[in-house]
């Protein structure tokens, strides 16, 4: 078991940056965001979480898929090797949760190649990032339990316990042995304490919620009331680390894929002005059922990692956590 201090971590990242593109949390003008890094000194290590989740580096808000040229069509791929440092457990779990979708049946290489070509060094949380976070209930954080190549768990201010999660992770440790130190017993205890520490203020029971959702689908009145202040902005999909729904759009030269939102009226728009989910409450219901019931039933994982963004950034101030708890505590109708 290894640990690494802050200076050596920066050295490690510098060396990884030589052969890979390095993505890490940095300060944009006023906010912390994920971006490609030129100088590791720009990396912010004590950030809470970004507004836009890390998924934008795997399924970008807009990404060219096909290129049209004189009647010929070519697919566009990026085979960049990347290292993603600093992804938080909730965003990481978001990727794990959408992986099976892109793997099932015909694989989607536009997403999967990016996953394959990106080494992930996750950064576990020790402080609460958001009043509305419930990552503990969603079993996504504050420390990740898989899906990473390496995970750093803070051991105080300047040191991190290093957890290895894959062969790529082991290779990094192997090739940079001089930067890692052996973790001693007290380090391991600290690490375990961090893993066991509860920091969330909000709690939900997603399994119970799933159970209670079963009988509530056709309770129109409830869904109407719950969606009363939805302003149709799409933030709860756009800013969700696990939402993957996307649209394909053509311009004269390219076919590009962009984020879509099941909260949009146009999401189910068909020809002849036909819109199966025309009413707002049906879309609101769709999002919750897809996330908390159907995705779980199909792929065995909830499509929610408890990051709290859908509550924090909802301009309609819809209390999703209260809704989950309300339904969970109901008689299931």
């Amino acid at each position: 078991m290894d640990k690494i201090n802050k200076n050596d971590l920066l050295k490690l990242l510098t060396s990884l940056k030589d052969k890979n593109k390095l993505i890490a949390p940095v300060k944009a003008e006023k906010d912390i965001v994920f971006d490609y890094v030129n100088d590791v000194k720009d990396i912010v290590l004590d950030f809470t979480n970004t507004v836009k989740p890390a998924k934008e580096f795997f399924i970008p808000q807009r990404e060219d898929i096909l290129e049209f040229n004189n009647g010929k069509i070519k697919a566009i791929f990026s085979d960049e090797k990347r290292v993603f440092f600093g992804i938080r457990p909730c965003d990481l779990k978001g990727l794990c949760v959408m992986d099976p979708t892109f793997r099932e049946g015909i694989e989607d290489p536009h997403y999967l190649e990016k996953r394959k070509n990106t080494v992930i060094i996750a950064l576990a949380c020790t402080t609460l990032c958001d009043e509305n976070a419930f990552c503990e209930s969603a079993k996504a954080g504050p420390v990740a339990d898989g899906c990473f190549d390496l995970q750093l768990i803070p051991l105080g201010k300047n040191e991190y316990f290093v957890e290895n999660g894959s062969k790529a992770g082991a290779d990094i440790i192997d090739k940079n042995k001089q930067l890692f130190k052996k973790a001693d017993k007290s380090d391991i205890k600290k690490m375990e304490d961090t893993k066991n520490k509860k920091i969330n203020k909000k709690k939900v029971d997603l399994d119970l919620f799933l159970e209670k959702l079963k009988g509530r689908f056709n309770n129109k009145a409830y869904w109407k009331e719950a969606s009363l202040t939805c302003l149709r902005c799409g933030a709860c999909n756009y800013l969700c680390p696990s939402c993957f729904c996307n649209n394909m759009v053509d311009n004269t030269k390219k076919r590009y894929r962009c984020w879509d939102s099941c909260m949009f009226r146009g999401f189910t728009r068909q020809a002849a002005n036909l819109i199966p989910r025309d009413e707002l409450y049906t879309r609101f219901r769709q999002r919750l059922y897809h996330k908390y019931k159907w995705h779980k039933e199909r792929y065995g994982v909830h499509m929610c990692t408890g990051c709290g963004r859908c509550v924090t950034y909802c301009p309609g101030l819809i209390p999703y956590i209260d809704i989950i708890n309300e339904v969970s505590n109901s008689n299931g109708e």
Binding site: I65, L66, F68, G71, K72, I73, K74, A75, F77, D79, T101, F102, E104, G105, I106, E107, D108, P109, H110, Y111, E113, F217, N218, F244, C245, N246, N247, M248, V249, D250, N251, T252, K253, R255, D260, C262, F267, T268, R269, Q270, A271, A272, L274, P276, R277, T282, Q286, Y289, H290, K293, W294, H295, E297, R298
Partner: protein, 275 residues
């Protein structure tokens, strides 16, 4: 890598264009895909987009699809002539339960543009006519001018053995050449379901048409004691990918493109409000 994308369509030539009605054309492509009846394809034009269409032809034959002019893409497709090019990828989705219907009677109920998708199955059945029971087709269109597959409905199928065709139109504008009923499909069902040729509760029913019609037809069938698992529907959504990645066709734990588009009513009745 460039050729690995499942989004990369084939570019194919249009062989023939047939005007079915004022706003429906059947396109025959210079392309003979292998597929099962009920499966769908993404057909498109570069620079405009793609949309899912069910094949009207049988497998290994020249691909055919009937396309109604309803939006930007179909408008552009309608501008194309024989010799022009389209893009196509597929097949996607499941298919009609061919095995399950062996030896059984079949009732096809189509509305508007909802008949061509059933064609593929009817054609497949006709290729092995002996394996299947009686066939009834109920077809409804808005008015006489909107009737598709006119040749089959009028001249071919009614003359076949063990094949009964009933056509109706919502509005009758003039006398016309069709000896048809006036009213909605559900209206004629009331009477025609009792017809000795069609009347059999174990008949497998295939329904395809606009959502509002599908719902009404199901209601009628249930009233007449057809079994939920014997009512087979094909559902529509504007599927962007065709293979479970874009999320547009999610209904319940199902993706219409992966688990459908063919469903029995029993499988999806919980989400009736959604289709």
């Amino acid at each position: 890598m460039e050729n690995k994308s499942p989004y990369l369509p084939k570019i194919v030539k249009i062989k023939k264009v047939k005007q079915e009605t004022e706003d429906i054309k059947t396109f025959t492509l210079d392309y003979k895909p292998i597929f099962k009846p009920g499966q769908f394809f993404e057909i498109g034009i570069n620079g405009i987009g793609e949309a899912p269409f069910t094949a009207a032809s049988a497998s290994k034959k020249h691909f055919q699809a009937s396309i109604k002019r309803t939006g930007k893409l179909t408008e552009a497709i309608h501008q194309l002539k024989a010799g022009d090019k389209l893009t196509i990828r597929g097949p996607y989705g499941n298919s009609f339960p061919i095995e399950k219907i062996k030896g059984k009677n079949m009732l096809f109920i189509g509305g508007g543009i909802g008949l061509p998708p059933l064609h593929s199955l009817i054609r497949t059945v006709l290729e092995n006519r002996g394996r299947y029971g009686k066939i009834t087709v109920f077809y409804g269109a808005r008015d006489e001018a909107q009737i598709v597959s006119r040749e089959e409905l009028k001249n071919i199928w009614p003359k076949m053995k063990n094949f009964r065709v009933v056509v109706c139109v919502d509005f009758k504008k003039n006398k016309g050449e069709w000896p048809h009923n006036v009213g909605l499909v559900t209206g004629i069902m009331e009477k025609e379901l009792k017809h000795p040729f069609t009347r059999n509760k174990n008949t497998i029913v295939f329904v395809c048409g606009p959502p509002i019609m599908i719902k009404a037809v199901i209601q009628k069938l249930l009233e007449h004691c057809f079994k939920e698992e014997n009512i087979i529907l094909t559902l529509e959504r504007l599927m962007k990918c065709g293979f479970g990645k874009c999320g547009h066709c999610n209904v319940g734990e199902k993706y219409i493109c992966l688990d459908g588009p063919v469903f029995s009513y029993k499988e999806i009745k919980e989400f009736e409000e959604e289709f």
